[in-house]
Amino acid sequence: MKYLTTIGLEVHVQLRTRSKMFCACGTGFGAPPNTQVCPVCLGYPGAMPVMNEEAIRLTVMTGLALGCAIPAFSKFDRKSYFYPDMPKNYQISQYDCPLCDGGAVEFESGGQGRRVRMVRIHLEEDVAKNMHFPSFSGVDFNRAGVPLMEIVTQPDMGSPEEAMDFLLALKQTLSYLGVSDCNLEEGNVRCDVNCSVRPDGQEELGTKTEIKNLNTFKGVFHALRHELDRQVDVLESGGRVTQETRRWDADQGVTYSMRSKEDAHDYRYFPEPDLMPVELDAATVGEWRAAIPELPGARRARLTAEYGIPGYAAGVIAADRAVADYFEAAARASKNAKAVSNWVMTEMLRLLGERGMTIGNARVTPGALARLVSLVDSGVVSSTAAKDVFAAMFESGGDPDALVREKGLAQVSDASEIEAIVDRAMEENPKSVADFMQGKSAAAKFLVGQVMRLSRGKANPKLVNEILERKLGAE
């Protein structure tokens, strides 16, 4: 039987703020345990939360970018449950009046346009991190109280692939907005997924399960694939899926049951009395709306239209706001945007990837790249030599003209100079000349190669071909 899949996500995104959600402690990653803590984020007696207004702004900006409604009134609530990673044994979160309602993410998946609707976006504080040692456990509260934005989608995704594409598109948008570093290694983005299957033709959704705390997109993908297969197996063998919360074991590649619906917590939400409600006036929201940058989809389209680069290239370049900014700076300084896009897509992204760098710390300035492209286009350097120049600039910066001079990479376009080299190549390879005469055209290619070798790659290939052809014809 064929089964249909339904997937909904809750995405927790760590916001890019200097201080925590409710205190002045820093949010840096990787500090020694319990060094970014204070009475507030440790839940000491008498300590009180104070709102981080930047976190509100970043969340509302996200909501505005995703087309959410921004209610004029929003509030925070206490969500109670006991766990050692919870300093107060309640989490300050938002229950019935979140900062953002509705909205949608539009993206491409499997070559088709998709739209996943949001339920809401709310703001809450992160919990601490439990650490287990052979004879005891510890808690690191550095992360406790870091602002987390929770994005809840409608169950609008039909496959793990689509869920993955959604996450990538969402991540691009969040990065563009600058609201989060979206660093998956540092746990900046964590997902809970809800999924169910139902036989094709059945209207009513199947019983769902929830998989908690997936901190890589790959993890989301594999966990979903496994869990959906498991649900199908349960149905195929005549069983029923139990509504429950499951955990993904990435090492074993399986999900296992954590708690059933009956054991679900009663969080006993009630309004947080230590914080005033958030009341946003239209002017402030309007100001924030005006500050929203061009988003990935629009930029992709504009890059194609404005610079005439192919859709695929625009997609790769627009995926990262900084890369796209770089490209545009270089393209504007150049007459050949397409060549610039090729350099960015291939050499630049490859080298950055190899070194684990971002474009922000690349030493090749956009101006230098544009100049290099024009040196190639005007025949001053060959495209082969240009790669060496680019590599040199990537290592230590510098100006392409100077590098071409220093390295003696300028292309030789002086016909007499090339003629001399061609003559030398023919003298050194009489057999190839003879082969050509007997109709083996491949021999000509070999000779071109020899000329290039002798010129150390600097001979203008177009001239070499012309001159060689003429000389061979004269033989």
Binding site: P45, G46, M48, K88, V139, R268, P273, M276
Partner: protein
């Protein structure tokens, strides 16, 4: 100056004496410590006194003696065990905070210190401020200085008893449902509950966050006004704190009398259940205010009868979350032998909390539970709104109100221990101010035939402290000096 003279100083005279060099802060603090050594064994108002530390603070105050030293430079004050003072224990009279030392100063304490005050010791209370008798304390009960067979009231009973017995010139308490005003009434001292948000709650161990307020207990109204002025004002660490500066006691207040003031007598506060002696004393005080020029009018607060129910739902709901942090993981007492986190919580909290605290946590957990929230918590919030409107309407007809603080004078020790509901009902005249967020002052206004003090409650609108203090100061001056407690057995 002899010891008794030191112990009878008001705050301004004490500060002035240090500034002028009439005496040193060390002499003053030594006199107060001597009073504690002499009298506290009989009433047990203090739970922690670090004499060396107090004298160190006094010496530091003497070292900065002069006009710039602060308005309370070298003046000792006591604080309720619920307030965080850096380096001191803050046990909230609970076993569960055994071993905890505060790493920071509460804002109210920091502001007193900024004016040079010396924190001389910590006073007893009902555990986590839950109670009206100061009997629910891990340290045992505090006794009423007027009669050792009576309770001092609560939950700030230690602070009230310390001030009444002149072991402290002034003390801080906290008032969630009457916990400053009622012990002030029971012990014959002045107690002020400021409007909600007037004094930052930062550093006050929370019982019910939407009701809690820090308040001073003093021997006279002007001292309460001075402390209010020092502690009040916007605090960036408490989002619910209000920016308006509070008034300071003005010498003109008492002299100006109460001409042109309309004082309301809420009908519902003089109804059944009010001890006739209390009623008589309060009416006599109201008449004294009329003699000072005030016009007395009857006003109505029709939703008063629902206040106790609403209060005990909201307070316990908030408490159930506020007290969840006491789990043995980060500080305080941790039970031995736990096998997993939940076992640790269960054991720690079973051992660490007293019966009244457990009762309120369970009640609060219940009223917030899924399926009961609407019926209890939501309804209580609606009642709260109605009570607030009652006051708004009534304050449209008067400038301030006069009422009793408690239906009776101080209870006998043990009288309410087995009947918590009786104790809860005794809060009827004070919880309304907390629910409405308004301010209230308790000023001694008489003694019962048994020689127990009775307090006059002056209620004012939100941020109406100036009016309340004016009425209190004028009445107090007209009343004349209040008798001193004589102590002794029941």
């Amino acid at each position: 100056m002899n010891r008794e003279a030191f112990q009878c100083l008001d705050l301004r005279s004490a500060a002035a004496g240090v500034v002028s060099g009439d005496f040193t802060s060390r002499e003053l603090v030594e006199a107060m410590l001597a009073g504690i050594i002499e009298r506290d064994p009989a009433i047990r108002a203090f739970v922690h006194v670090d004499a060396d530390d107090a004298l160190r603070q006094a010496d530091a105050a003497d070292a900065r003696r002069g006009p710039g030293g602060g308005r309370l430079n070298g003046v000792p004050v006591a604080v309720k065990d619920v307030l965080n003072v850096a380096g001191q224990p803050c046990g909230c009279a609970s076993r569960i905070l055994e071993g905890y030392r505060a790493p920071y100063d509460a804002t109210a304490v920091a502001r007193l210190r900024r004016e040079g005050a010396v924190v001389v010791g910590r006073t007893n209370m009902d555990e986590f401020a839950m109670g009206s008798t100061t009997e629910n304390s891990v340290h045992g009960p505090t006794l009423n200085p007027w009669n050792h067979g009576r309770v001092p009231g609560g939950s700030s009973g230690g602070s009230a008893a310390a001030v009444a017995s002149r072991e402290a010139l002034a003390a801080l308490g906290s008032d969630t449902g009457g916990s400053v005003r009622q012990p002030a009434s029971f012990c014959g001292c002045v107690g002020l509950k400021p409007s909600y948000g007037r004094i930052s709650r930062y550093g006050l161990t929370a019982y019910a966050s939407s009701l809690d307020q820090i308040g001073p207990l003093t021997t006279n109204v002007r001292d309460a006004a001075l402390l209010l002025n020092i502690m009040s004002g916007r605090d960036p660490l408490d989002s619910t704190s209000v920016p308006d500066p509070a008034p300071c006691a003005d010498d003109g207040w008492a002299a100006a009398g109460l001409k042109g003031m309309k004082l309301g007598l809420p009908r519902e506060y003089f109804g059944a259940g009010l001890d006739p002696e209390v009623a008589w004393a309060v009416r006599a005080a109201a008449d004294a205010c009329a003699a000072l020029g005030a016009e007395l009018v009857e006003v109505a607060l029709p939703h008063t009868e629902y206040a106790i129910a609403a209060y005990y739902i909201i307070a316990t709901a908030e408490a159930s979350a506020n007290l969840a942090r006491f789990d043995g993981v980060r500080y305080g007492r941790r039970a031995d032998g736990a096998s997993d986190p939940y076992d640790l919580y269960t054991r720690t909290r079973a051992e660490g909390f007293g019966a009244e605290v457990k009762r309120r946590i369970i009640l609060g957990t219940y009223v917030l539970s899924s399926g009961y929230y609407e019926a209890y918590y939501r309804s209580a919030q609606k009642v709260r709104t109605l009570i607030r409107r009652d006051f708004e309407r009534a304050f449209g007809q008067c400038d301030a109100m006069l009422a009793p603080v408690a239906p009776t004078a101080a209870y006998r020790l043990g009288e309410t221990t087995d009947d918590p509901l009786k104790m809860y009902l005794g809060d009827i005249l004070t919880v309304t101010a907390n629910l409405a967020g308004i301010c209230g002052l308790s000023v001694p206004c008489g003694l019962t035939d048994d020689g127990l003090p009775v307090g006059l409650q002056v209620l004012g609108p939100f941020l109406g402290e100036e009016r309340v203090l004016r009425v209190g100061a004028a009445y107090e001056t007209a009343r004349g000096p209040f008798p001193e407690p004589h102590g002794g057995a029941a």
